[in-house]
């Protein structure tokens, strides 16, 4: 009897408690976003008016955020795949150092990285004012996640020996890349891309520093809405944000499971 208390009910209760702790603020926020008037509570009636209003105000922000996330993912792939490949093929001490180095923007606060970017590129007006500036920041911040994700898969496979196997059967470098390296790296590429997109969509610190009124992203717009509009609209913003980010998170979970459990 006491054993089942300690081994079942207690852990279950604890888990539920933690879950509630994590999810309750989000739930309340969502509720506020679809409530006619938060002062009177949900009993006063529910509505999608606020959500629609947010969409009307911020549709372009949503679009920009998605484009930015997509562009970040593509840039990360173009830069990160070759980098991960080279690191996997040459597991030397220099390679380890390089890996640590690209992790730096993750460890350093986003604000500091953003400041560094402004110092470096700030004088370049056409760049400073556009979304590309934010893209640079996002790539800097997310690249290590892509590299790590792909590198982990390649290293676990011993890609070097696999390539040697392919070469012994007559495959040249390009054919090896297309038939052996990329197909085997796919779970890592997929997981990395989803991770990067999710990070880009949710990134606030750095983006807040880098944006202009014309290049807001969702999280920046969220801060904007919280600061300047009624509570219901700000909360409705949360609803919009969740609608975008939750499917991504679910996909990411699946990709990660496929990458680790698949082989």
């Amino acid at each position: 009897m006491t054993r089942s208390v300690f081994r079942f009910w207690l852990p279950l209760g604890f888990t539920l408690l933690v879950s509630a702790f994590l999810i309750l603020p989000v739930l309340l926020s969502v509720l506020a976003g679809v409530t006619l008037n938060w002062q009177r509570g949900p009993a006063g009636g529910l509505t999608f008016r606020w959500v629609a209003e947010v969409w009307g105000l911020y549709a372009d922000t949503v679009l920009r955020t998605l484009l930015l996330a997509g562009a970040t993912a593509i840039a990360d792939l173009l830069l990160g795949l070759p980098l991960a490949y080279v690191l996997a093929r040459h597991p030397s001490r220099k390679a380890r150092l390089m890996e640590e180095l690209i992790m730096l923007p993750v460890a350093v606060p986003g604000l500091a990285t953003a400041l560094a970017l402004i110092i470096l590129y700030g004088g370049w007006q056409s760049l400073r004012g556009g979304s590309v500036f934010i893209l640079i920041g996002h790539v800097l911040f997310t690249l290590p996640f892509m590299v790590r994700s792909v590198l982990a898969v390649l290293a676990a496979l011993d890609i070097r020996t696999l390539e040697e196997g392919a070469a012994s059967l007559g495959a040249g470098p390009w054919r090896r890349l297309l038939t052996v390296v990329l197909p085997n790296a796919r779970p890592g590429i997929l997981a990395g891309a989803l991770m990067v997109v999710t990070l880009s969509v949710g990134e606030f610190n750095m983006t807040w520093m880098l944006h202009t009124p014309l290049t807001k992203t969702l999280p920046v717009g969220l801060a904007d809405a919280y600061a300047s509009m009624r509570l219901e609209i700000a909360s409705a913003y949360t609803v919009v944000f969740l609608l975008m980010i939750v499917p991504l998170l679910v996909l990411m979970q699946k990709a990660a499971a496929a990458a680790s459990g698949g082989r």
Binding site: G165, A166, A167, S168, G170, A171
Partner: protein, 374 residues
């Protein structure tokens, strides 16, 4: 293996390794100016302790690595030193198999054929032939991670031989398997290599494997070749202490030459025991009183009836090994001897083999060397 593979039409390849050294960037000299000829069609076993440079040499021949300047690799007289592996038409079996996890068993075997541009129907036929030869036809559609170690090994072999390579390179292909499976596969690989008639280089650190598979055996140590010879030569006429001890147990008795025998603490071993072929090559017969050493393998001594033996000693221990009994004897020379005797003797109940019991040995054949040599 299963069916008889059709005979190759192409003539097998002869390999020549000329002055090939390999120094790694960290300064490790893994290979020390090796010269080696591999005859067309032979299976050459490359034997040596871990770290002696076997894989390094194999990789140079394969084209996965390149020798230090000055070294050359020749295939049938043609210099291929600069060619990468994909242009050398060699088949390779890796210790870790290196099978492609993104492809089925059949696709793995078909990979090299596809690169050769073989037509799809011919390709299918060849893949089926290979899988049947390796007795893994039912596994054709399996994923690689659903195979056992032995099955993976068979796939790796099938994949390597499917494109009919001019040279087959195998790097310790059996070390990852358990003893029983290793024995079974060893026999199969032996039959396969013989049936294919392809020149093959087989790397192993297991002397039994090397002797069973190799037409000739190359014994390596510290990046050098210690000896090249047939398994019989390597075992019975080792070129030095290292080879003698690496390919099996070697007993040594030190003594002095006296008349027609060698005098040692346990008695006199008649020189007749050392047959004429067992004279150390090129050595003059030393004079009486010269310090010499007798060498013989455990199976070259037999336990003799009292009064019939050449030498007398004391049993220190004996072990029943199933097919034979191993007896440790001291008091004959300065170091203990190991002898083996067949037959149904149980050392646990047989008092003549109990520790401390006196024992007499006849030595059947033994090479003689001036002391300190060989």
């Amino acid at each position: 293996m299963g069916g008889q593979p059709e005979r190759r039409t192409q003539t097998p390849l002869a390999i020549r390794v000329e002055g090939c050294a390999r120094t790694f960037p960290d300064g490790v000299r893994a290979l020390d100016r090796v010269d080696l000829d591999i005859r067309a069609g032979e299976t050459l076993a490359l034997l040596g302790p871990s770290g002696c440079g076997k894989t390094t040499l194999l990789r140079l021949i394969a084209g996965l690595d390149h020798p230090d300047p000055g070294g050359r690799i020749l295939f049938d007289g043609e210099d291929v030193t600069a060619l990468p592996i994909e242009r050398r038409r060699v088949g390779m079996v890796f210790q870790s198999y290196a099978l492609f996890p993104n492809m089925s068993v059949a696709a793995n075997v078909a990979y090299g054929l596809k690169i050769q541009g073989m037509a799809p129907d011919m390709r299918r036929a060849r893949v089926t032939e290979m899988l049947e030869m390796m007795r893994i036809a039912p596994l054709a559609d399996r994923a690689i991670d659903q195979l056992s170690g032995g099955q993976r090994q068979r796939v790796a072999l099938a994949r390597a031989i499917a494109p009919r390579p001019r040279l087959l390179l195998l790097d310790e292909p059996l070390t990852a398997l358990d003893a029983k499976l290793r024995d079974a596969l060893r026999v199969e690989i032996d039959q396969l290599l013989r049936a294919l008639g392809t020149t093959a280089l087989y790397v192993t650190h297991d002397q039994a494997e090397a002797m069973a598979l190799g037409d000739r055996v190359v014994v390596m140590t510290h990046g050098r070749i210690a000896q090249i010879g047939t398994p019989y030569e390597i075992y019975h006429r080792p070129a030095g202490r290292f080879v003698a001890d690496f390919v099996g147990l070697m007993n040594r008795i030190r003594g002095t030459l006296s008349g027609d025998g060698v005098r040692c603490p346990g008695g006199i071993v008649p020189l007749a025991a050392a047959g004429p072929s067992h004279r150390p090559a090129g050595a003059r017969r030393p004079g009486d009183g010269a310090p010499v050493e007798i060498q013989f393998r455990p199976e070259d001594a037999v336990v003799a009836a009292p009064g019939q033996g050449h030498v007398r000693g004391t049993v220190t221990a004996s072990f029943f090994l199933g097919d034979r009994v191993r007896i440790l004897v001291e008091g004959v020379g300065t170091t203990p001897l190991t002898v083996e005797t067949g037959g149904r003797i149980d050392p646990l109940t047989d008092a003549t083999l109990a520790a401390g019991a006196p024992i007499e040995l006849r030595i059947q054949s033994a090479p003689l060397a001036p002391e300190g040599e060989a």
